[in-house]
Symmetry: C2
Subunit: 349 residues, 2 copies
């Protein structure tokens, strides 16, 4: 393959504008100490020649690569893709992250890493060495993986932790999961439900605990009993079935259920149908993911909508700011979730 050189480099621009390389560089990087007329002249040449800096060269000398790495859970993502059930989380991250990156002249590079792997540090170090990203976005469960955050801290790379479970360095961004669970519980209680069941996610994801907390708090505030209304699942369809079976068993069964993700909500739907329970007449159901499929169930599911795109965009903004002037918000940034009302909720019989 032919050795490919940059078509138009900073040299061409400098020659065309009749200035030194430095001046061009200063204009590109929006540095001060350039007279407006110089700047205009250089900019004219840049536009004329269609010059675009090579990020490889920029990375070589300077400190910016204009690359942001988004790390997602490998097994989970691949499994979702392979089953062709979509990966809404990934889509929304790309939507929010890529577009925001583009605004800043950055690129988002999407990477999969295995959180359970014993060579996770090696994998991550390799990705960083190869790409030299200006920042990293961590999604659950990576947000709380000390092996990952450790590498990032040591290398002094700005990183955002989405829905982190424990305090720590890095930019924390949450979606107010406990508040959202509380809101969903309140919504059901306001409809008249008192037997509101909750199917939780696994401890590995810290959002699981928060969502549970929100439900518990709302129930406690209203003085509602939670006995026999809680089941811990693992986000899988099968565990959702088990949860639904447990909560819909006996005379004192739940009349409403909040499932911590879409798969477990779908499973609950299936179990309810098997038991001859009509939704929403006999059972109200709220999903904790507003993924595409909850609009294709019968009835369509009322769901907590997580603003993943906005979170990703926020993460990009904050990472770029952190990379530029080292400013990191001291408190977690909150991008609150919303409740989307559809047809799976109604007052109890």
């Amino acid at each position: 393959m032919a050795r490919r050189r940059q078509a138009v480099t900073i040299k061409h621009v400098a020659a065309d504008a009749g200035v030194s390389l430095q001046t061009v560089s200063r204009v590109i990087n929006k540095e001060p100490n350039v007279r407006p007329e110089m700047k205009a002249k250089v900019q004219a040449s840049i536009d004329k020649l269609g010059y675009v800096p090579s990020i490889a060269a920029q990375r070589m000398s300077g400190s910016r690569s204009y690359l942001i790495l988004a790390l997602n859970d490998r097994d989970r993502t691949i499994a979702d893709w392979k089953e062709r059930q979509g990966a809404d989380w990934v889509d929304q991250m790309l939507l929010g992250g890529m577009l925001k990156c583009a605004e800043h002249g950055y690129r988002l590079i999407f990477e999969l890493v295995d959180t359970h792997s014993d060579h996770i540090e090696r994998e991550l170090t390799a990705a960083i060495a190869a790409l030299q990203p200006d920042g990293v976005i961590l999604t659950p469960p990576h947000s709380d993986n000390p092996l990952i955050t450790g590498v990032l801290e040591k290398q002094d790379i700005p990183f955002a932790r989405i829905s982190p479970g424990v305090p720590g360095r890095g930019i924390a961004i949450t979606m107010n999961d406990d508040g959202a669970a509380e809101m969903a519980t309140d919504y059901l209680a306001d409809l008249g439900h008192s037997r509101i069941g909750f199917i939780a996610g696994p401890d590995e994801y810290s959002v699981s605990g928060w969502r549970t907390d929100g439900w518990e708090k709302a129930m406690a505030t209203r003085g509602l009993d939670t006995a026999g209304l809680f089941h811990k699942g693992d986000f899988s369809f099968e565990s959702g079935r088990e949860g639904a079976e447990a909560l819909l068993n006996g005379p004192n069964r739940a009349t409403a259920i909040i499932a911590s993700n879409d798969q477990m909500a779908l499973a609950t739907l299936e179990v309810a149908r098997e038991k001859g329970l009509a939704i929403p007449a006999d059972l109200s159901l709220i999903s904790f993911d507003n993924t595409p499929i909850v609009k294709f169930t019968h009835p369509q599911l009322t769901a907590v909508d997580q603003p993943i795109a906005q979170v990703a965009a926020k993460a990009v903004d904050l990472i770029i700011a952190a990379h530029r002037d080292g400013e990191v918000p001291d408190a977690p940034v909150v991008v609150p979730a919303d409740l989307v009302e559809r047809a799976s909720t109604a007052p109890p019989r």
Copy 2:
């Protein structure tokens, strides 16, 4: 932000192994003319120090950036993401493309470009200048955009065209769309249908024409009349409704319909329900996308499954080969689609 240097460079490895930089470079690049013992010594140092080459530096001197650009239709992808209906095509491309890239030590960079934009050449040139990718994957409708292929040809960058409509340079990869449409039509005819309708996609996507061709050929082969059985849509739900209305009108209505994508299939489902037609008893339906949602309709849809992941993987393989030794397959590479039988097809009444 602190200026971040490579933690461990080729120099460290060379010093540690007691050889020259070049020898290390040769080992990294698997070049010949290195004695096994040297190679082993160098490799030991690489492993010991955890050395990983900087792709920025590799790009600066050599001809490889280890980056492959995947170009998708901007408006369409963003629209799908925003409606949270998923973007199965994108997911599958990432699945196949990323994993295959990883095997080769490459990275896939996902980009959105607007095919209708008048500054598309500028956009693309900028992306290429910034990233210097070793190859580009073009998806419809970009595969046939002469502005895009022109830039790539001129810059001598290997590129794959997925489902290209017209011959041209670059690596062509098809999914045998006409064969798949023929297969779907035959499947329905074998069930006993003779009034098999077809809702086509827009001309902008060349697959639309091929799928239509396949249907027409199958119908002709069996001597079946196609009058009143064809409608051209634009892949949108609304156009699918129009198509279904047209094909299900009158006494001589279609008893089976093939929709060229999932949205139009869903629309057909809705129209059928409105008309009181049971599926599959009164109407058989085949979707031309096996996206997640077709498994959540009632009944689940029989669908043509397009092997997008395999196509993307194949594209990566071929691009890397082309970049390495300039070898480009002279005939289009075919990765055939399959028919997934579900519950939306049955013999006519």
